[in-house]
Structures are given as C-alpha cells and as structure tokens.
C-alpha cells in the first residue's frame, strides 16, 4: 500500500512536469491557433540558461531561474514578431513547419555552446525530503507540484478576469471579431509566445533537475512527451493539460515499477504514446477538448 502511494506521489510529480511542458503548447494554440513546436527549443534553452546562471555565474538558483525565464520569454517574443507572425494565418501547416524549423535549429546550437556532455544542475533542493505517513516526498517533487498548481491557478485567473486574458480568448475564438473590438492580434500573439517561452524555460529547468534526466543533448525529446499529454487533455484546455499530464505521469510511473521485464526494454518510454493511441481511438478530441463543429 505504502509502495503504491509512493509510486503515486512520484507519478504526480512527473505528471506536473509533463503538464508544465504541455501548458506552453496550449497557451499558444489557444490564443493564436498555431501548434508551436518551438516549445521544445524553449525547454532546452531555459535549462541551459539556468545552468549558466546558477553554476557558471554562481547566482542563487531562484535568481538564475528567473533570469532564464525572462530571457527565453524575450527570445520567444522576438521569434514570433520577426518570423512566425508573418505566416501564422497563412494556412494550417505552414506555421507548424516554420516552428518545426526553429525547433531543429536551437538544440544543436545549444550543444555547440554548452558541449555535448551531460551537465549537472547541482542540488538546488539538496536531498531533503518530507515524510508523511511512510511516504517520502523530495523537496524537488514538492517544488514541481506546488509551482504547477500555482501556475495553473494564475492561468485560470488571468484568462477569466484580466483584460488581456479575455482578449486572448477572444482572439482564439474569432480573430476578426476580436480585431473589430479593438483587440490587437499582434499583442495577443506576442504575449502568448512570451508566456509559452517562460513556461518552457521553467519546465526545462525542472526537467534538468530530475534525477534521471539531467542536462544534456536530447532534452528536446523529453519536451515531445508533452504531445501525448496534449492529445489526452485537448489542445486548447489548460485544465486538460494538467489533468492529462497527471494521468500520463501516474500511469508511466506505475509502468516503470510494475510492468514485468517480459515487455522488453524501453517499454516505459512508449507508454505515453500507447496511451495516446488508445485515447485517439476512444475520444479523439481528448478529455477536455471541444469537438470542432464547423460551418460552411
């Protein structure tokens, strides 16, 4: 029983991480309609910048995180303003391909700057743990879980009550009507990319402090794990992203421990993708996505 609870807790922590990764995709998709693959590159950039700030320049960890979040957000805004905005309304798949092009540029550049060795982020939280009735939670897991829920709450409030948040929703719903109401689509697009960049940088940092992952080449492949989560949660629902992330995280964590070796090596790595295929079968619009009803 305790063991299962323990697995559940690590699953929730992993799930929150996946949710953070997925939220970045959701923000951009929700307000600009672009499926932004560059998100994976933001994750890589964020992780390496935090590393530089914390380990090379010796800044306190949280300052380094703030700095990297800010820098990546600015880079994201610049990319949107200079490149992606020009094609964002052309058709469905030109923007996907453009963001895809940007995605494959950035990780090799990072490898060129920081080298292809595994780097260690150090131990920002140390090995301290919190014990609740036999279940131990590391402070890192706790930080991931708490920050995910804080971010989700902030999102909910922002989209629901702030002027800009409402403007973003309006732009997503009907770009022309929003324009007619005086909402600047440029501002909305840039803002959403900035938010996505910040989220990506934060998620990347958290990913890089995970025991098994670390900081090294291939980090962008972990960002791709957000894709099954998005399918589960629906592309345009922040709450769906979080619940989808939790679901995938918990199932994967149980698979790591409980699946027998007979399934062969690397089975746990494909669990999210298998889950995704099953969901595509049963409920293609995801748990929280809305079925698209189109008019001619």
């Amino acid at each position: 029983m305790t063991e299962n609870l323990q697995i559940l807790v690590s699953g929730i922590s992993l799930g929150c991480l996946l949710a953070l990764l997925a939220l970045g995709f959701v923000v951009v998709a929700k307000s600009t309609g672009v499926f932004n693959l560059t998100q994976g590159a933001f994750v890589v950039m964020g992780a390496y910048l935090t590393y530089t700030g914390h380990r090379t320049w010796g800044l306190p960890f949280f300052l380094a995180v703030l700095l990297s979040v800010a820098v990546v957000a600015v880079v994201a805004v610049i990319l949107e303003a200079t490149i992606v905005h020009r094609v964002s309304t052309v058709n469905l798949f030109t923007p996907i391909l453009v963001t895809f092009g940007l995605l494959i540029i950035i990780p090799p550049i990072a490898a060129g700057i920081w080298g292809s060795d595994q780097r260690s982020m150090g131990d920002p939280w140390g090995l301290s743990v919190l014990s609740v009735g036999g279940v131990t939670i590391t402070h890192r897991d706790l930080a991931v879980i708490i920050s995910t829920f804080v971010i989700l709450a902030a999102f909910g409030l922002f989209f629901r009550f702030s002027r800009l948040g409402l403007a973003m929703q309006a732009t997503a719903l009907d770009p022309e009507a929003a324009l007619a109401q005086g909402v600047s689509d440029r501002t909305v697009h840039r803002l959403s990319w900035g938010i996505a960049g910040a989220l990506g940088a934060f998620a990347g940092t958290m990913l890089a402090t995970t025991a098994g992952t670390g900081l090294g080449p291939g980090l962008e492949h972990f960002a791709l794990l957000a894709i099954p989560v998005i399918i589960l949660g629906g592309l345009e629902s922040p709450l769906g992203a979080v619940l989808g992330g939790l679901f995938v995280g918990i199932v994967q964590q149980f698979a790591v421990v409980r699946v027998p070796d007979a399934f062969g090596s690397g089975f746990t790595e494909v669990v999210p993708y298998l889950l995704m295929l099953v969901i595509m079968l049963v409920r293609p619009e995801g748990f929280f996505g809305t079925k698209k009803i189109r008019r001619i």
């Binding site: 094609v87 391909l97 940007l102 062969g264 295929l277």
Partner: protein, 383 residues
C-alpha cells in the same frame, strides 16, 4: 498501386472521358522527350562518373527522393503533415532483411513485399491517424516512430536488437545482379549498378505518382487538401481519399526502405528516428510541396548539405576541433536543415521547383523575342 492507375481510366464511364484529359502514362511530346532523356541519363551518368564517392551520394539522394516522393503524396498533395515517415521506411528496411536476407528471396519478391508490408501497416493505422485534421496526424505519426523503434529493438531475431543487423538481401533481378553488374567484358562497380537500379526506380515512381495525381483519386486528394468540406460536398469520400494517400505514401516509404537497407548493407532500429522523418520533411519543403520534381530536387539538395558541411567544416571557426567545444558536422547539418526550412517557407514557399522555374523563365524571356518587358510582366504571378 497499379490499380489506382487503371481504375479511373475512362473505361467505366465513357461519357466522362471527354472532359478528362486522356490518361496515358506520358501525355505530351515534351513529356516523352523528358522520359527518354531521363532513361539516357540513368545509364549515362554512372558510366561516365568514376568517383564511387559521388555515385554513393547520388544513390543516397535517389533513395531519399523515392521516400520523399511518397511523403509528398501525403503532405504536398493531400495536405496532411506526418512525422512518421521514418517508421514506414524502417518497416521496409527490416522486411527486406527478413524476406531477402533471412529467407534469401530475390529482389522481385522483397522489393514489392517491403512496400506492401509498409502499405498494410499504413492502411491499419490510417483510420486512427486520419480521424482528426490539423496537427493531430503529426502527433500520432510521431508516436509511430517511438513505438516502431521499441518494437524493432525487441525483435532481435530479425532486427538484431540495439546493435542492428547486416543486410544480406541482394539487388538481383533474374540473372542481373545490380551489385556486381557485368556487360560483356565490362565490370561495373557496386555503386554504378545500384545507381542504375535506384534512379530507374525514381523514374518509375515519378511516372506512377504523376499519373495517380491525374486520376480521380489523385484529384480527390488535392481537392481534400484545398477545401475538405467542398470536396466532400462534391462527393469525395474524405476518409477513403486520405486512406488512399496514406497507403500510397507508406508503400513508397517501404520501397525506399528496402533500397536503403540494400544500399547501406547495415541497419539498426535507432536510425529510423524522428531526425530521419525531419530530413524527409525538409526535402519536400525545400524542393516544393505538391510538385512532382520538388522531392527529387530537394533530395539532391538536402543530401548534399552534410557533404558540403564536411567539405567546408575545416575552414569554419566555430566548429568543434580536438576537444574544444563547438559544433560538430551533424549539428551543423541539422541547423542548416532548420534554417533552410524556415527561409524557404518565408521566402519561397513553393520551393526549389519555383526557383528553377523562375530562372528558366528569365532565361527564355531574355533570349526570346519578348525581351526585357515580358520578364517584368512575369514577375507578379511568380512572386
């Protein structure tokens, strides 16, 4: 895929035959001259090129071209984005090793079987993958690549597991062995024989795809791409059309995979990864989406990227050298793919095909009687 060529050939509905252009393999005189020229080049280039290094590169480009022509059917003509192409290429490659290598069957068996196996899997996956439009096919196809690598790693008897396997399948057609071609007293290098085989198949693939795209099902694909709902109102079955495109795409990927396996003689599961899919996507975007020759031009161009990077990498200041940090050649190639994709989509969305077309028009208009004026009047519709 041969059935797709013949089904709408007018014989079933004679009255419609008048509105459709006559379906022949090659419809114009220029086209026939082109085919003749292609056939001549397929034999002339390897016979006159002695560098096996460059022939090897051309062979790799030809195989990439077949795979890219396949992906172009789905992405360029049918408007669906796929990152799973490497999976189907991988299926073709390992089926080739199984049928041609382990069971030792000749090429006339393993090549079609490689294509058909990939096409079958494509047909099985299509109904799930095509349920939604937009970016969803891309995501599902990404899952295919990861699941494919997992399955291949665990099928050690065929794939050799993580270490991969040597490919024993031979490129033989009856008495002709393309890997050790002899003609009377002439003995050809392996690359020369394979060049003839690979580029002949590129030609056949082009001919087949060009004709499928002129047939009803090909036009249906383009109609679905341009406006799915309008197409459906006109009586085009969406699901069926897209499944057709998906199956044809997978078939060509399988064939390309078979050739890839024989050309490389060594394959491992990890090589059929997302990066390979990326490469095929880069090829069709750079070459020109939805154009016949785009994938071929793109394949030659993209295959040359790492070659050129290798050639110039010693001159570049920011490359990694002897323990120093810096870019390695694989990374630089990846960066170039990315930059090229972005630049082409922003500046030349119709790809190299459009660039070549423009250059061609400039030449004809400056040498022709129309002179300078026609080149300026041409500009608006080409931009």
């Amino acid at each position: 895929m041969a059935t797709d060529l013949s089904v709408p050939a007018g014989s079933t509905r004679p009255p419609a035959g008048r509105t459709l252009p006559p379906l022949r393999l090659v419809s114009t005189r220029l086209g026939r001259i082109g085919v003749a020229l292609f056939v001549v080049l397929v034999f002339a280039i390897p016979l006159n090129m002695t560098s096996t290094y460059w022939l090897g590169i051309m062979n790799a480009a030809g195989i990439a071209a077949i795979a890219a022509i396949g992906l172009n059917v789905l992405t360029g003509y049918d408007g669906q984005l796929s990152l799973g192409h490497a999976f189907f290429v991988g299926v073709g490659a390992f089926v080739t090793q199984y049928v041609g290598g382990i069971h030792g069957l000749p090429m006339i068996v393993w090549l079609p079987v490689a294509g058909l196996a990939a096409a079958l899997i494509g047909a099985a996956v299509a109904p799930f993958a095509l349920r939604l439009r937009g970016p969803y096919l891309m995501m599902v196809s990404l899952a295919l690549v990861f699941i494919g690598i997992y399955v291949a790693r665990n099928l050690e008897s065929i794939t050799g597991g993580n270490e991969g396997t040597i490919v024993l399948a031979r490129a033989t057609l009856g008495p002709i062995d393309f890997e050790a071609l002899t003609l009377g007293p002439l003995v050809f290098a392996r690359e020369q024989g394979l060049f003839i085989l690979i580029w002949a198949l590129v030609g056949l693939t082009l001919l087949a795809v060009a004709n499928v795209m002129r047939s009803r099902s090909g036009r249906a694909m383009q109609a679905v791409r341009d406006h799915d709902m309008a197409a459906e109102v006109l009586g085009v079955g969406m699901m069926r059309t897209q499944t057709n495109a998906f199956v044809l795409t997978s078939f060509l990927a399988g064939v390309a995979g078979g050739l890839l396996a024989v050309n490389l003689q060594y394959i491992r599961p990890d090589s059929f990864n997302v990066e390979l899919s990326v490469q095929y996507l880069a090829i069709i975007v750079i070459g020109g989406l939805g154009s016949l020759w785009g994938p071929v031009l793109g394949a030659i161009f993209v295959t040359l990227v790492p070659v050129v990077v290798d050639l110039v990498s010693n001159e570049l200041p920011f490359m990694a050298r002897g323990g120093e940090s810096g870019l390695n050649t694989t990374d630089l190639s990846l960066i170039l793919y990315g930059v090229l994709i972005v630049v082409f989509l922003l500046a030349e969305p119709k790809g190299l095909v459009a660039t070549f077309g423009r250059i061609g028009r400039l030449i004809t208009s400056s040498t022709g009687s129309a002179g300078r004026r026609s080149s300026t009047t041409n500009r608006p519709d080409t931009a």
